[in-house]
């Protein structure tokens, strides 16, 4: 399903939660939505899922407006950290309920996942721990096989082994039944290998939308003697600097040519790639750090 977002904006009274969001998702890939707390991730995802309307701009999915469109809405699934404290139904009956309304829901796969996460099918959901409730959400998310599946931080409460199961199942199921996944997360370093593309949301705006591999090659850390590093980096966009004695490391956002890399090597400078996590931290955190200094 093709997702096209144009000039999308959202206001809460006078606050501008989202502004000028424009992008297009054309392929069945796993998209990582990164952004700091309050960047507007959940607001944006809830508009995609027709939970709310945008104040301005438009969203189309396969050329149609999704809001209140029965054909589109049944193919868009949005899972978030839902509070199940009042949910007295058990896993079995909740899965049956989902199955009634979701055309691609695979009950066998759901049961396989419930077994892998070691969830008791007969226990009311409210009696589950937070992590187990999250695991239930994840199981529903995968087994529904909606054309657009959105996970908004649902895995946060899960323990490391459960998250690992989720990542493996996600990649396997994406290989078997390709679809659009949008995963928002804070666990960047842990999940970076899952993403095909990454969308960085910062203060309600899209900072970038890129292929993960080409994005990470844009980040580099140049380490060496202070003067040499400063001279080499020149006017490139600096994300962060670290200094210990005469040794300085500068985090750069921008690509180096082959010649530049050779010159660096001759000068005794070390150039290493930045991880997605480093890029995320420094692209979205830099401003505040300087402001507070």
């Amino acid at each position: 399903m093709n997702v096209k977002v144009e000039n999308l904006g959202l206001h809460y009274g006078r606050d501008e939660a989202l502004k000028n969001i424009t992008f297009e998702l054309t392929e069945k890939k796993i998209y990582g939505l990164l952004g700091r707390n309050g960047a507007g991730k959940t607001s944006f995802l809830s508009i995609l899922a027709s939970f709310r309307e945008a104040t301005s701009g438009s969203i189309t999915m396969d050329g149609e407006v999704p809001f209140e469109n029965a054909n589109i809405m049944q193919q868009v699934l949005f899972l978030y950290n839902k509070d199940y404290k009042d949910e007295s139904d058990n896993v079995k009956s909740l899965l049956e309920d989902v199955q009634r309304y979701r055309p691609n829901f695979d009950i066998d796969y759901a049961e396989h996942l419930i077994k892998r996460f070691k969830l008791d099918k007969k226990k009311p959901l409210k009696k589950f721990s937070k992590g187990m409730q999250s695991a239930f959400n994840v199981a529903v998310g995968l087994a529904t096989r909606a054309e657009i599946t959105i996970f908004d931080e649902v895995y946060l409460g899960m323990d490391a082994p459960s998250r690992d199961i989720f990542y493996k199942e996600l990649l396997q199921d994406q290989a078997d039944h390709p679809r659009v996944f949008i995963l928002s997360t804070h666990l960047v370093s842990e999940m970076d290998y899952l993403f095909d593309e990454v969308i960085l949301l910062h203060k309600g705006e899209i900072l970038l939308h890129e292929d993960v591999d080409s994005f990470t090659t844009k980040g580099a850390k140049v380490t060496g003697s202070k003067d040499l590093v400063d001279e080499f980096v020149g006017s490139k966009k600096q994300l962060n600097t670290e200094q210990l004695g005469d040794t300085k490391a500068i985090f750069i956002y921008g690509e180096f040519s082959q010649e530049e890399r050779k010159a660096a090597s001759h000068a005794g400078l070390e150039i290493s790639n930045l991880s997605l996590q480093d890029l995320f931290i420094h692209l979205t955190g830099e401003e505040e750090e300087y402001e507070t200094k």
Binding site: F51, E68, A70, N71, Q75, L77, Y101
Partner: protein, 260 residues
Amino acid sequence: MKQNNHFPKVALDMYMMQLAWTLGFFGIMLIIHFWRIGRLTFFQGDEVDTFYNSVFTTANIFMLVIGIICIHFLPHYVENGVTRKDYFKGALLASIGLSISLPVLAFIISSIIKAIVNINYREADINSVIQEIDGDIGDIIGDIVQAIILSPHVDLSSNWLLALGVFSLNLFMYYLLGWLISASFYKYDFIIGIVSIVASILILMFGDTMIRIALDLPIFDRFSALASLPTSITLFVILLVILLPVWIIRQLTKRVTIKM
């Protein structure tokens, strides 16, 4: 993509769930009913109302409560990919079905009990109560309390079909007003929620008065000027009074943000 019409499913699911709640409500009413029969038989207590009449005086509040709960199905269905429109249509159909089923079930159960337990049941004249209290209190609060407690009542023995129909209509109105109040609170803040409660009471009092006029039942003095309205007009106004909350609920839920 396959075209899926979800509202019949929503209607059936909500109807079955609310019917189960109704059976629970009947269970409690039956316990009270048999306790009163037992008390009358063994300790010569008060007279006992028929099961039908007991349900008649309590089911309104039951419907109001499940009408209030109705809004909680909205996020549930939207999360499952159902549109707000399909939820609205489904919930409305379910509430109509329930408003018809409840009096019929109460009538059947009441008839069975009457056939088995042979005692003298009190044939309460629910409508006459309105005038007895009216003279004593006679103020607006008294009217409001009465309007909430007492609904237009037609005796089963005079015209059973009309009696069941009026009972259904009462229940349907209470359900709609509960739904209207909860939808207002869901969409807006506390103040508008309170306004919706006041509006609901006014709609209820006005609707009840119209039904009373149409059925030639006693009405509040406050509305006595309306008593001479021709039946055709009152029936039309009753229809409008039903459609008004239906329309408001749809407007409230049409584009509402789902709370997370």
